[in-house]
């Protein structure tokens, strides 16, 4: 097997290389969005429980004021993205394909954009690592690459597991997007400073910055910014989707594989996005919570594609108008084209994890009709996880979800490579999302049924036990009565037994 494996290529040539459409948006200078009049800030912009509002309608807030506090261990606070008045706390359409409602705090801007009192730290590297975690958590910093996992929770995990290597993800493999590219070009020193603070927070010895080779300016800027720090290395990685996926980037940079049932930290690495590092820099050095981010505006329906610095909670429509609408978009996407979600309409606000808003024209949004699978195996070769998408899909098609689970469906990262390469244009990712959802529903139902069964069994056992105990008690009393009777002989029986205790009343209680 060893030699055969070598002949057949042990290092899988996974992934796809879609037309990246990054330019001209990536080369356009970063612009700032004029302050929107109304901002709608969702309470759930992160993985974990939604934040809890701490302001009342009508209250005046300054930019950076805490407006919702974290709720539980894995959660993140939310801050006011500008100064103004809280005009509503209620449900809005969530940036989610379902279009379901979600709680959000609406702020009517006063136009002054006045900051609250900030508490900058002159030398964050002199702080205790725990203090960096605390301040990062308080600033509401979450993973800005799209996963939106609270950053401080990952710091603590990294510290506990003694992670030696920090991997800084500058891959940005999604086509159309250039927010990370822009931040590395324009704010390389902030990114490098931020990643050094992160290294200090987790106790890492080295940092590897992985940047795809399609971003030469970013590579130059980051190399210059990192030149003074020997333990920070900028590594060029091939532009191949999904290079920006944690597992694939870790493998490319360190050769390590994250075991299927483990977290990256358990093999000694931790991945943070370049934008997250920059946000950590601002949180520590400037005392600024995460209230704005760079968003890529791109797609054929826009006249001036590019990157803008926009406050969290900006309605998508404001961003699109700023970029100029050429034609009515055929599709609105939050995130990249490979994994991004479809927006039901343009009134939804952008959130911390919104790296891009794409307005596709009709040609870009064209979805070819699906045909039958010809078993060509393109999906198998493209899958970065080494799965068999065609086999899993045929199982799911036949409603054999367990069969699909047996082919490690749960390892699918949903990157969309299989669907992208499929010559029959079968929506494989949708099969897998459906099956994962069904399986987790089944699992929940199974647990609920098991709990119900356990309760029912316990009740039956308790009833049985009580009946048995009563029977024993009854037998004992009967024996006592007989003994008393025998002892008393011809004498008068004790009043208590004769009057109160009768066999019928005993069984009834």
């Amino acid at each position: 097997m060893g030699i055969l494996e070598k002949i057949l290529g042990r290092h899988p040539h996974w992934g796809v290389h879609p037309d990246d459409h990054k330019r001209p948006a990536a080369d356009a200078p970063l612009r700032s969005l004029p302050l929107p009049e109304v901002l709608r800030v969702p309470l759930q912009q992160h993985v974990g429980s939604p934040a809890r509002p701490v302001v009342l309608v009508g209250e005046r807030v300054l930019k950076g004021d805490l407006i919702a506090e974290p709720n539980g261990n894995i959660s993140a606070p939310v801050h006011a993205p500008t100064s103004g008045r809280i005009s509503a706390i209620g449900e809005i359409t969530a940036p989610h394909p379902s279009g379901l409602p979600q709680l959000a705090i609406t702020i009517t801007a006063d136009g002054a954009d006045t900051w609250c009192e900030r508490q900058p730290v002159a030398d964050p590297l002199a702080l205790a690592p725990e203090e960096i975690s605390r301040r990062t958590a308080a600033a509401g910093v979450v993973g800005l690459g799209g996963a939106t996992f609270p950053a401080a929770v990952k710091f603590n995990l990294g510290r506990r597991l003694r992670v030696g290597t920090l991997i800084v993800n500058g891959g940005e493999c999604e086509p159309y997007l250039s927010a990370d590219d822009r931040i590395m070009r324009d704010r390389a020193t902030e990114v490098v400073d931020g990643l050094r603070i992160v290294m200090h927070a987790i106790g890492a010895r080295e940092a590897l910055v992985g940047i795809e080779d399609n971003k030469p300016q970013a590579i130059t800027a980051m190399r210059a910014a990192a030149a003074a720090f020997g333990h920070v290395q900028v590594r060029v990685v091939p532009a191949r989707y999904p290079m920006g996926s944690d597992k694939q980037l870790i493998q490319t940079l360190t050769g390590k594989e994250v075991p299927a049932d483990a977290r990256a930290a358990e093999v000694g690495v931790l991945v943070h996005n370049v934008s997250t590092c920059a946000a950590v820099h601002r949180a520590l050095r400037h005392g600024e919570p995460l209230v704005e981010r760079i968003v890529t505006l791109n797609g054929g329906a826009l006249t001036r594609p590019g990157n803008v610095l926009a406050p969290i909670g900006t309605p998508v429509v404001d961003l699109l108008r700023f970029a100029g609408i050429r034609e009515r978009p055929a599709r609105l996407i939050l995130g990249g084209p490979m994994m991004g979600i479809v927006l039901p309409h343009a009134r939804v606000p952008i959130v911390k994890g919104a790296s891009g808003v794409l307005a596709f024209d009709a040609a870009e949004a064209r979805t070819p009709a699906a045909g039958p699978c010809i078993r060509c195996g393109s999906c198998t070769r493209a899958c970065p996880m080494g799965l068999l998408p065609l086999e899993m899909a045929s199982r799911i098609d036949a409603d054999d979800l367990d069969g699909a689970a047996g082919l490690a469906l749960s390892d699918c990262i949903g990157c969309g490579c299989c669907t992208y390469v499929c010559p029959s244009h079968i929506p494989l990712v949708q099969y897998f999302s459906y099956a994962k959802g069904e399986l987790s529903t089944r699992e929940r139902n199974r647990l609920r049924e098991a709990a119900t069964r356990r309760l029912a069994e316990e009740r039956a056992a308790r009833l049985q036990r009580e009946a048995r105990e009563k029977a024993v008690a009854a037998a004992r009393r009967k024996a006592e009565r007989a003994a008393t009777k025998a002892a008393a002989g011809a004498g008068v029986p004790p009043l208590r037994e004769r009057v109160v205790v009768t066999p019928t009343s005993e069984t009834a209680t």
Partner: protein, 360 residues
């Protein structure tokens, strides 16, 4: 307010590669074209007539079934898979075979070989090879009547009308006059007469082993080099991977060299095996059929080696002089088994699907 126009629910990815089933099929057809044109030149009008009759029959069979199955006929035919099935079958027939061989074979290929299983992507066996083997077993005489090459435009080559008459069986004397044996058929019959290969191949009436393929055989066996070139084109376009062709040809060549080395009087050389019969057509165009071959690299390697091995065994010791079709069908039957046991290693897991150990 900007509301996107989409009505149907859509989901990621919002981008699709340029590949399509029709693109794949048409490239394969394009790769077959040089060898096919060479075949037309070599065997003249009858070969051309048989080609279009077979291909049209295959498409007709597909269309009939699609209609019966209430599938969109035009849209489904546009994937060009039926065209390719008929084409591959035509290349494996004796070029001067009568019209009804093409009709029966073409219909059988798409109706029984493919649509009965549920259409594109569902068949267990290669439809063209199913049809070829059915024809060979049912009609052994016309299926083994080969003609010597009379290149188009040469003095005694039949013209367009005579070509039609040959194909439609109204000029039977022509085929008898031109009939010749394939190299495998000749070697086998000579061996059975007790003449060893050293003598029989040196004899004047032996079919020449010509590199450019000027000898009796089907269109798909005489143009070995052109077929190999077409195969390389498919490899270059990454429509097929090297695993099946390499494993099949290497196994065949290895076995042939070993046996030929041990007794050249009884066993044909590796070069003869590679350049005669359906080896090249099989390696690059038949065995690599997506639907009926395994879909992992290692599985394809095993599959290809199996086809090569069985081809050699059938050619050397079997009841028929040529064995590629049988070998492919036998390995087709094994494909589900190979796919069940040979799976790629999943990221973060070992070969058996267990999570990797954490290195400390």
């Amino acid at each position: 307010m900007i509301t996107p126009r989409h009505v149907a629910p859509v989901a990621a990815p919002h981008a699709a590669g340029a590949n399509s089933v029709a693109r794949v099929m048409l490239w394969v057809a394009a790769a077959l074209l040089p060898a096919t044109l060479f075949g037309f030149w070599l065997y003249g009008w009858p070969a051309l007539h048989l080609w279009w009759i077979t291909t049209a029959s295959a498409i007709l069979g597909e269309a009939l079934c699609l209609r019966l199955r209430r599938q969109p006929v035009r849209a489904s035919l546009r994937d060009a898979s039926a065209l390719l099935t008929g084409w591959l079958l035509a290349l494996s027939l004796p070029p001067w075979a009568p019209w009804w061989i093409g009709v029966v074979g073409g219909l059988f290929a798409t109706v029984i070989g493919k649509q009965v299983f549920g259409g594109l992507g569902q068949n267990l066996f290669n439809p063209a090879m199913v049809a070829r083997v059915m024809l060979l077993i049912s009609f052994p005489v016309p299926m083994t009547l080969w003609t010597a090459p009379i290149p188009l435009l040469s003095a005694n080559a039949p013209g367009f009308v005579d070509g039609l008459r040959i194909t439609f069986g109204t000029l039977p004397a022509a085929l008898d006059a031109m009939s010749s044996a394939t190299l495998f058929g000749y070697a086998r019959s000579e061996l059975s007469r007790g003449v060893d290969l050293l003598q029989s191949l040196a004899a004047t009436q032996a079919p020449p082993l010509s590199l450019v393929g000027e000898r009796a055989g089907s269109m798909g066996e005489t143009a070995s080099l052109l077929l190999a070139a077409g195969g390389l084109l498919l490899l270059g376009l990454r429509l097929i991977t090297w695993h099946i062709p390499f494993a099949m040809l290497a196994t065949l060549a290895l076995l042939a060299s070993l046996m030929h080395g041990s007794d050249p009087a009884r066993y044909l050389s590796a070069g003869t095996h590679l350049l005669s019969g359906g080896a090249m057509l099989g390696a690059f165009f038949i065995a690599t059929d997506y639907v009926t071959s395994p879909n992992t690299s290692l599985g394809q390697f095993i599959f290809g080696a199996g086809v090569g091995f069985l081809t050699y065994v059938i050619r050397t010791w079997g009841g028929y002089p040529e064995g590629v079709a049988f070998a492919v069908l036998l390995m087709n039957a094994l494909t589900p088994v190979i796919d069940r046991y040979v799976k790629p290693r999943i990221y973060g897991r070992d070969r058996h699907g267990r999570p990797l150990e954490i290195e400390s």
